[in-house]
Symmetry: C2
Subunit: 518 residues, 2 copies
C-alpha cells in the first residue's frame, strides 16, 4: 500500500505522527487509547491476527431470573474478597477479613466483612459440592493412636465432652511454641481448607505444616495460637492469633490465603502469589492443654466462612443497631471527612442481606433480630451520626459515606436498598413495617435522582459535584457496571421499567454509544 507519514495537530496543541493513504488518514492507536481512554490489543488466532477494540473493560452480569433475598447475591459469586491486596488477612480471632484500605494498621470494615460472607454464600450456591476429609473426630477407639508426642513430654487421649455429647481429643503438653507438640502426621492431603473445633484450658496452639514447591521444596508452618495479636511472621512461620478459646469454638481457615497474607506482610508489594505453590499438608500438631475435635480438610468452606461473617455482625452490633467504622474516611480530595466511628448505610444493608440469608438457612432468630435492629440507623440523619441524607430537602438518601455535606454515592445507596428489600421480604410482615417504609421511600428517591447520575456517556459515582460545586466524579467502568448490575437486579423486583431502560442505556455507553445531543 502506498502511504506516507503525516503530522496531525491535535486541537492546535500538539502533534501526533499519522499515516496518509490518498485522502485517508490513519491515526495511531497509542494516541487514540490515551486520548479517549479506550482499550485494544492484537489477538493472534492461528495465522490470523486481528486487533480487538474495547470501549470498556468490565463485565455486566445479566440476571437469569428474579432476584431472591435468600439466593445468590447479585454476581458476588465472582468476588474474591480475601484475595484483595487491601485485605490484610482473615482474622483467626473473628474469622473475618481485616482491611487496610484507609488505615494501614488494619480495621474491621463491615462492608468488606458482609461482602466476604455474601460472596462465600453465593459461591456455595453456584459451585459444585465440595470434597472433604475428616482426619479426626475422636470417635474411633484408637483415635489417640494417630497422635505422636514429639519433643517435650505430654499426653493425648480420646475423651467424652459432656457439653457437646461427643468424643474429643484431649492433649496436654508444654504450650511453648518451641515445643514440636503432639503431632498428627498426614498423607496426601491436598485440600486447602481446614476447620476444627477447639478449646484450651489456658494457653496453646495448633500448627499446620505444609510442603511448598521450590528448589528444594521447603516446609512452611501456619501457627494458630492463643493470642489477641492477629498476625505475625518470621521466615517460614506465620502466626495467627485465635483469641483465648477458653470455650468451644470453630476455627475455619483458608490455608493458602493464610500463607499468602503472611508472606505479603513480610515482603509487602514485592510478593507475587505465584511464588507460593503448595504441594501437600504434612501434619497438624497441638500444644498446651486443650481439646480438639472434627479436624477437617476440605476443598472449600463457603458456608463456614459465611457464618463466620454473619456471626461477626451479631457479636459486634452496637446499641444503635450499627457497626461503627473505626477509621477516618476522606473523600473529595479531603473536602469531606468522616472521623472514626461513622456508620455506613451500605454496611447496614449488606450486613442485613447476609443476616437474612443466615436466618433463612438456620431459622435462628438472632440473625433476624440483628437485621431488624440494623435498620434503625437508616432513620438517623447524617448530621446526627446516622446515614440519612436529604437531596434538596426533599429526597431521602441512605449514605454509604454519611458526609456533611452529603455525597450521595449511588452504588452504596442501592446496596442499602437491597438489604431493606431482603429483610422486608423475609421478615414477618408485622415486624417489617419500618423496613418496608424505608425501602419504598428509598426507591422513590432512587427513581427521582437516578437521571442525575447519567452523563450521557457513562455514570457518575456520586453527587459530590452538586453538594461541593466541583467537577463531577465520573465512575470508572467497574463501578459503572456495578450500577448496571444493581439496576438489572432492581428491574427483576420492581415494576417500573425505568431500571431496565437505564441499565440498557448504560450498557450501550460501555460500547461507545452516547445519549443524543440536540
Amino acid at each position: 500500500i502506498p502511504y506516507e507519514e503525516l503530522d496531525c495537530v491535535i486541537n492546535g496543541e500538539y502533534t501526533v505522527g499519522c499515516r496518509r493513504e490518498g485522502d485517508d488518514v490513519y491515526l495511531p492507536f497509542s494516541f487514540i487509547s490515551k486520548y479517549f481512554e479506550v482499550y485494544g490489543k492484537l489477538v493472534q488466532n492461528g495465522d490470523d491476527t486481528r486487533f480487538e477494540w474495547s470501549h470498556s473493560y468490565s463485565h455486566v452480569y445479566v440476571p437469569d431470573g428474579t432476584y431472591s433475598p435468600t439466593g445468590i447475591f447479585m454476581s458476588f459469586e465472582h468476588y474474591n474478597v480475601e484475595k484483595r491486596d487491601r485485605v490484610k488477612c482473615i482474622s483467626a480471632i473473628e474469622g473475618v477479613p481485616i482491611s487496610t484500605q484507609w488505615g494501614a494498621h488494619g480495621y474491621y470494615y463491615p462492608i468488606q466483612i458482609a461482602q466476604y460472607g455474601l460472596s462465600h454464600f453465593s459461591k456455595f450456591l453456584t459451585e459444585k459440592p465440595r470434597s472433604s476429609i475428616v482426619i479426626e473426630d475422636a470417635e474411633d477407639d484408637r483415635a489417640a493412636d494417630q497422635w505422636a508426642v514429639v519433643g517435650q513430654r505430654g499426653t493425648v487421649s480420646s475423651v467424652i465432652d459432656r457439653h457437646r455429647n461427643t468424643h474429643v481429643i484431649e492433649f496436654d503438653t508444654s504450650d511453648s511454641i518451641h515445643n514440636p507438640g503432639i503431632v498428627h502426621q498426614l498423607e496426601n492431603i491436598i485440600f486447602g481448607f481446614l476447620f476444627f473445633d477447639i478449646r484450651f484450658e489456658n494457653n496453646g496452639s495448633v500448627t499446620v505444616a505444609m510442603e511448598m514447591k521450590g528448589r528444594p521444596n521447603r516446609l512452611f508452618y501456619l501457627h494458630y495460637i492463643c493470642s489477641e495479636n492477629v498476625l505475625a511472621v518470621s521466615e517460614d512461620n506465620v502466626y495467627y492469633g485465635i483469641g483465648l478459646r477458653r470455650t468451644w469454638g470453630r476455627v475455619t481457615r483458608d490455608l493458602m490465603v493464610d500463607a499468602q497474607k503472611g508472606i505479603m506482610m513480610q515482603l509487602g508489594k514485592k510478593f507475587r502469589g505465584s511464588r507460593l505453590v503448595p504441594l501437600r499438608v504434612i501434619s497438624v500438631s497441638v500444644r498446651g492443654h486443650g481439646w480438639i475435635d472434627n479436624i477437617t480438610f476440605a476443598s472449600s468452606a463457603h458456608l463456614e466462612q459465611m457464618y463466620d461473617a454473619a456471626d461477626w455482625f451479631v457479636r459486634h452490633q452496637d446499641n444503635k443497631g450499627g457497626w461503627p467504622i473505626m477509621v477516618t474516611r476522606k473523600l473529595a480530595l479531603g473536602r469531606l471527612e468522616l472521623p472514626p466511628g461513622w456508620y455506613s448505610a451500605m454496611a447496614q444493608g449488606q450486613a442485613i442481606s447476609l443476616l437474612v440469608r443466615a436466618y433463612d438457612r438456620t431459622k435462628i432468630r438472632a440473625y433476624l433480630d440483628c437485621a431488624l435492629r440494623a435498620t434503625k440507623i437508616y432513620n438517623i440523619p447524617s448530621s446526627e451520626g446516622g446515614v440519612r441524607a436529604m437531596f434538596a430537602d426533599k429526597y431521602p438518601w441512605y449514605e454509604e459515606y454519611p458526609t456533611v455535606p452529603s455525597s450521595f454515592v449511588l452504588n452504596g445507596f442501592i446496596y442499602s436498598l437491597i438489604g431493606l428489600y431482603d429483610l422486608k421480604t423475609v421478615a414477618p410482615p408485622e415486624e417489617a413495617r419500618d423496613t418496608e417504609s424505608l425501602y419504598s421511600t428509598g426507591i422513590s428517591s432512587l427513581k427521582a435522582l437516578l437521571p442525575l447520575f447519567d452523563t450521557g456517556s457513562g455514570s457518575v459515582y456520586d453527587l459530590r459535584h452538586f453538594t461541593l460545586a466541583m467537577s463531577p466524579n465520573l465512575a470508572r467502568w467497574d463501578y459503572h457496571t456495578t450500577h448496571i448490575n444493581q439496576l438489572l437486579l432492581l428491574s427483576t423486583i420492581e415494576d417500573d421499567p425505568v431500571f431496565e431502560a437505564v441499565a440498557n442505556r448504560w450498557i450501550g455507553y460501555m460500547k461507545g454509544k452516547r445519549a443524543a445531543h440536540n
Copy 2:
C-alpha cells in the same frame, strides 16, 4: 517497517479496516470521527500538508473586560439573526424579523426580535462608523426637480411639514402598482441599507429598483406597499407590506436581505444566496398621494434596526408585562408541549437587555418602564401561565420554555438573569428592588444547580432527564460554548469564582479533556 492491512473488531460488534506497522496499529479517521464525533481535515500550507484534528467546532469568546449593561451584549456582534434560514423576512410593517422555526406560517418570536436588536446594537458598538448618503431631505429649493413623473400623470413638490418642522417631498399620482410612479434616478449608489420617513394620505408604495449581476445583468424591484400583507413575490418583484402609514414613520430596510428573503420564498431551499450579487441601485420611485423625507442610503443601519426591535417590545407588551408567543412549542419528543400564548423568561430577559440599552442611549422612560413591567412574569409559576419553575421545590428557575413538568434549560435561564442584571444596574434603585431580588434568587439557584449540567465531558442543555426520567439531552458544541460564554460574562460581574472555574473546565472539554474518574 512493513505496513499491512489489519482488521479491527470494534467492541465485538463490527469490523474496521486498519493498518499495522510492527506493533503499532493505525485506525482510519473516517471511523474515529464517526465513533467519537470529532472533526478533522487535511490542511495544505505551501508544500506542507498536515491534518488538523478538532474535538469541537465552535468558538469561545473570552470577555476582554467587565460586562456592561449598556455595552456590547455578550458576543452578539457576531450574530446575523436576519440571515438565518428560519427567519422568513424582516417585516416592513414592524421592522423586526418573522420566525418560521416552529410554525411555517411565520410568527413574531420575541427572543429572535430581541437578539436582532441586541446584535445590531453590538455591531454598532464594534464596527467602524458607517458611511451614508442622503439622497433627499427636501431642504434644497430644487429638491422636487430630481423627481420625474413617469407613466401616469402626477405632481411632486417640496412642502413644509408643520408637525415635523421640516421640508418634505409631497407626491401625488395613481397608487396602482402598475404605475411606474414618480421616479428619482440614482447613480453610483452601492450602499445596501435604505431608510426614509414616510406618510400616505390613503394608499401608495415606494419602489427600489436595483441592477443585479447576471448574464445579462437584470433589474430587480423591491416594492414597499401600503399593506398588512408581509411578503409576496412575483419573478423579479418582491412586495413588502409596510402597513397603512397614515402617520409619519420611518422605514429601515436591508435591501439585500429583503431581496434574498423574497427569492428564498420563491425558490425555498434551492436558493443559494451567492446567486444574487447586487451591482447598484437604479432608482427610488413613489406612488399614491403621500409625503417622503430623509431618503438615505447607508452602509449599515444598526441603531435604526435596534430601535425598531426595542419599539416593537414597547408596542406589543401585554398587560402582564410579557410578549406571548403564538406558536406551539414541543420538546422532549413531544412529551412536553407549550400551546400558543406561552411566555419565555429568556424572551423577557433578552427584551429587558435590549430595552435597557435603548433607555440608556435615549433616556426615554417608555423603554425603562417597559423593561420594569417585563419582570412581573418572572414571579408567575409556569403552572399559572408564567415562567417560574422550582427544582425539587427548592430552587426557583426562570424557564425559557415553561413546560409542566419543567425543563430547566440552562442558556435561557442565564439570559433571563442577564436581563435582570442589566435592569437592576441601570434602573433607579428604588424601582429595581424586585428586579434585584429576582436576580439574586436566580443567581443562587444557578450556583446550586450548575453542577447538574456538567457531564464531565460536556454539558447538558436542560434537565429534562431529571423531570422526565429520560436520557440526558446533551448540548451540542455551539450550545456548550454559549454556556461557556455566559459563564464567562457572569464571572466578570459576580464575585464567586465558581463561574470562571466551571467555564474553564468546560473549555477543556472542547479540547477533549474530561473530568477525572475514580
